[in-house]
Symmetry: C2
Subunit: 178 residues, 2 copies
């Protein structure tokens, strides 16, 4: 049965990079959320869905990643920005390529800011049918320190939200990492 | 493409009766959660999903519904119980019939107890891929008094949970009703 554009379900998936050293590209929880969406929701009905990948880059306020860098000219900052951009694009490329392979329509874009605020703002603007978020599944003690994007979005996003917890066997040594 | 039992996505939908006087059968929010699941997730892929309807009946502690009844013999209580049972069955029949009409596999059952506790217990026992809950979308002030099943289940159910808020144009005169 052909599916018209009007009856396509638009699922927004918020994706981010891993914070684990030496583990580049998508975080374990982002990939988990994406795979869950494909395996449990989309399945063989590839023409029934459109995936919308939103990556929110956090402005690097403390610059810890660049502790050993020396900034001597405005050019140095420009190259920093273009490096951020390249990393964001590489992240989105992973998801878009996978969708292309299995034949699911998708769109992907990057925004800068506080992830929880930006995600809710983009939901309001884009009005997806469902927002899928990966979650580290942290306990209450850990949550106090790292905050959780998913908890905020479940409360404030203006569309149905589903949170996919990271599997226990995928938790890195430091569970706050991902 | 034929879908084997192993790759079928099992979605549990918790359903309840309306509390609105003169509005029998399923609550607005239950029906909303069910229709969202069909329209946005199942769509034409009817063989890819199995819906599991759980109805939790709350023991009628205060008996307000029976203020004008007179209990003269043990038989009167038996008839009360069988009336509860009949109401629960009628509720489930609505959802099962609808599934049958569109060709989606389903199962339905009734439990008694505190809805939020029972739903989380049944999730643990049945292990669905997704739990869909209707919600009245009450504000923080209203929530203090009526409690919310969905908020509890989002935190405690051991599977992904999605909450479908009642549409604004479907809100009854008293928003706590449904």
């Amino acid at each position: 049965m052909a599916t018209s554009e009007a009856s396509v379900t638009r699922i927004m998936v918020a994706v981010n990079e891993s914070t684990i050293k030496g583990y580049p590209h998508a975080s374990i929880s982002s990939k988990g959320a994406f795979e869950w969406t494909l395996q449990k929701i989309v399945m063989s009905n590839t023409s029934g869905f459109k995936l919308l990948f939103l990556h929110v880059q956090v402005p690097d306020e403390d610059g810890f990643d660049d502790m050993d860098s020396i900034y001597a000219s405005p050019e140095d900052f420009k190259s920093l920005k273009s490096r951020d951009r390249a990393r964001g694009l590489r992240l989105l490329e992973f998801f878009v390529t996978r969708c292309h392979e299995i034949g699911v329509a998708c769109e992907a874009w990057i925004k800068k800011g506080d992830p929880k605020e930006v995600i809710c703002h983009e939901v309001k603007r884009i009005q997806p049918d469902l927002l899928v978020l990966g979650s580290r599944g942290l306990g209450p003690f850990q949550r106090v320190f790292v905050g959780t994007v998913s908890e905020f979005c479940v409360k404030h996003a203006e569309c149905p939200v589903v949170t996919i917890k990271r599997r226990l066997d995928e938790t890195p040594q430091d569970p706050v990492d991902d």
